[in-house]
């Protein structure tokens, strides 16, 4: 077992691309094979692989989607079970225990729902769910999700690139950051009674991060609309950042000039930075981030797996942070 330094590593190099990231692009490759001329049998098999949407458990309204063509959006790794994805959640508005949201989020009212877009945009306005659902074609994307606590899942999300909405509302030249404000309604969310965090929960991205095709507005998972506990009816999914950056149950998207403070930054700025990119070389002050436990996949006694730079999306997003000292901008 080699030793990984806690601190003092140099800036990231582009050539440090992980084999897993390449592996993750196999689905995409298969899709291209299908369109090409690689032998009839192989092509038909690959085509099926490229078109089929992950089957849901039949619990919620179906949300049909095509396969995403975005680079890195379809990892081939084994999916986390729907039962794990929908019962092991951090959604403090419904309690701090990871089993709380699945138990208590039934009280969340997701209809009607609107998302206000405001701030430094030429086309501010209020979007209802119908309009949001029709804004762009639904895509299935299979992302790794790495929680800052040291566990991870593989989840088939349904939605589209956040960039679709960003472009539609036309950010002004002053817009440099995007802030996401989530629902904070005491009558629906029992967790708000405790002062764990400053409510409402807010998160933010740099505009170029928000425009990256992998950053996603998700409306469903496993081919169905989002379960309440997973952030229904609309949430953010930013697969190269720790899970808490992916704000749930969004009600307001604000384009701003100055870097907004996220709820976790307000709670503990020394522990949770604005960027919070998944980075095995920058530890949380109170624990290592070098490894992770894959929920439901790794056996009880199997070793934890190494955490990948940018959660394995370095090939896609590494250039967003070129030249930045990621131990400083953690």
């Amino acid at each position: 077992m080699h030793f990984i330094n806690d601190k003092g590593h140099g800036p990231l190099r582009g050539e440090a691309i992980t084999p897993r990231a390449l592996y993750a692009q196999r689905r995409e490759f298969l899709g291209k094979l299908a369109a090409g001329s690689a032998g009839a049998l192989l092509a038909s098999w690959a085509a099926r692989e490229a078109i089929a949407q992950t089957a849901g458990p039949g619990k919620l309204r179906p949300l049909p989607a095509g396969k995403s063509a975005v680079s890195g959006a379809l990892t081939m790794e084994k999916l986390s079970a729907y039962s794990d994805v929908s019962t092991y959640n951090n959604f403090y508005e419904f309690g701090t225990d990871k089993s709380d949201p699945a138990r208590l989020a039934g009280s969340l009212k997701t209809q009607p729902w609107t998302v206000v877009v405001e701030g430094e945009v030429r086309k501010p306005g209020t979007w209802d769910m119908d309009a949001l659902l029709k804004l762009a074609p639904m895509e299935e994307r299979i992302y790794r999700m790495r929680c800052v606590e040291g566990w991870s899942m593989v989840i088939p999300w349904v939605g589209y690139s956040l960039a679709e909405l960003v472009k539609r509302v036309e950010p002004t030249g002053n817009a440099r950051f995007v802030q996401f404000v989530t629902l904070a309604d005491k009558s629906q969310m029992p967790g708000l009674r405790s002062s764990v965090l400053d409510w409402p929960y807010v998160e933010g991205l740099r505009l170029d991060e928000a425009l990256h095709p992998l950053a996603m507005l998700a409306f469903g998972l496993y081919g169905e609309v989002l379960p309440n506990q997973n952030g229904a009816p609309v949430r953010l999914v930013v697969p190269w950042k720790y899970g808490f950056k992916s704000a749930k149950s969004i009600v307001r998207i604000r384009f701003v000039e100055k870097q907004p403070k996220s709820s976790w930054e307000t709670a503990a700025a020394s522990e949770y930075g604005f960027y919070s990119n998944v980075n095995p070389k920058v530890d949380h002050p109170r624990w290592s981030q070098a490894t992770e436990r894959r929920i439901g996949d790794d056996g009880l006694l199997s070793k934890k797996r190494p955490t990948l730079m940018f959660n394995g999306y370095e090939a896609q997003v590494g250039q967003l942070y070129a030249g930045m000292d990621l131990s400083k901008f953690f």
Partner: protein, 214 residues
């Protein structure tokens, strides 16, 4: 009640009851019934039971004096040893499931997580108590010295509480910690109150402050 507690089946019954959580967790692990993160469930489950058994152990004497069920004292050693047993399991879960028995990782982890250090310290303090829990050790040490040694339990429960508090502070979630703190405060406060009541003068000889020893 004293007759019931003194019955020869009382001890084996409590022994089995106290083994229950272990059997339940073992079954859960084998049947994969511990939820999405079984390693975490095992580590937290065993840790919870250490605190619970420490509280139960410390509750024996106040309860005995309050209710007059003197036969409760027969169970105290077993309860204390169960706290140690669940402590060992808790450490095993950490070292095995979390760290894969990788000594380098453990050495790196402990300074990062002071609550691990505090928990380890509490465990180390439990060692001499468990090692001197049998009758011959009590005789060899002499009751006075044995009692003094076993006052470590106060430090152990406070370290355990701090360990739990620091662990939960990551989520600003102090509800459960507060409950244990209240119980421990009552159990230790009762002892202080007893000591003061029976020996109001400060500077009394240590031997005379017998109220603190149980």
């Amino acid at each position: 009640m004293n007759a019931l507690l003194s019955h020869r089946t009382a001890k084996p019954l409590f022994f089995l009851l106290a083994l229950g959580p272990f059997l339940w967790l073992l079954y859960g692990a084998l049947a994969n019934a511990l939820g999405p993160n079984p390693a975490e469930a095992l580590t937290r489950g065993t840790g919870d039971w250490v605190l619970r058994f420490l509280c139960l152990t410390l509750a024996v004497t106040p309860l005995r004096q309050w209710t007059g069920w003197t036969a409760l004292a027969r169970l105290r050693r077993m309860l204390g040893l169960y706290a140690f047993f669940y402590g060992l399991l808790h450490m095993l879960c950490y070292a095995w499931l979390d760290m894969g028995f990788n000594v380098g990782e453990i050495v790196r982890d402990i300074p990062k997580r002071p609550f691990v250090l505090v928990g380890t310290l509490a465990m180390l303090l439990m060692l001499p108590l468990a090692a001197t829990s049998f009758n011959r050790a009590i005789r060899a040490l002499g009751p006075g010295r044995w009692r003094q040694l076993h006052r470590f339990v106060y430090a152990i429960v406070l370290l355990g509480l701090l360990h739990f508090f620091w662990m939960r502070s990551a989520k600003n979630d102090f509800g459960e910690v507060g409950l244990y703190a209240l119980i421990v405060a009552l159990l230790l406060g009762w002892r202080l109150w007893q000591a003061r009541r029976t020996h109001p003068r400060p500077g009394a000889a240590p031997k005379a402050r017998a109220g603190l020893t149980s």
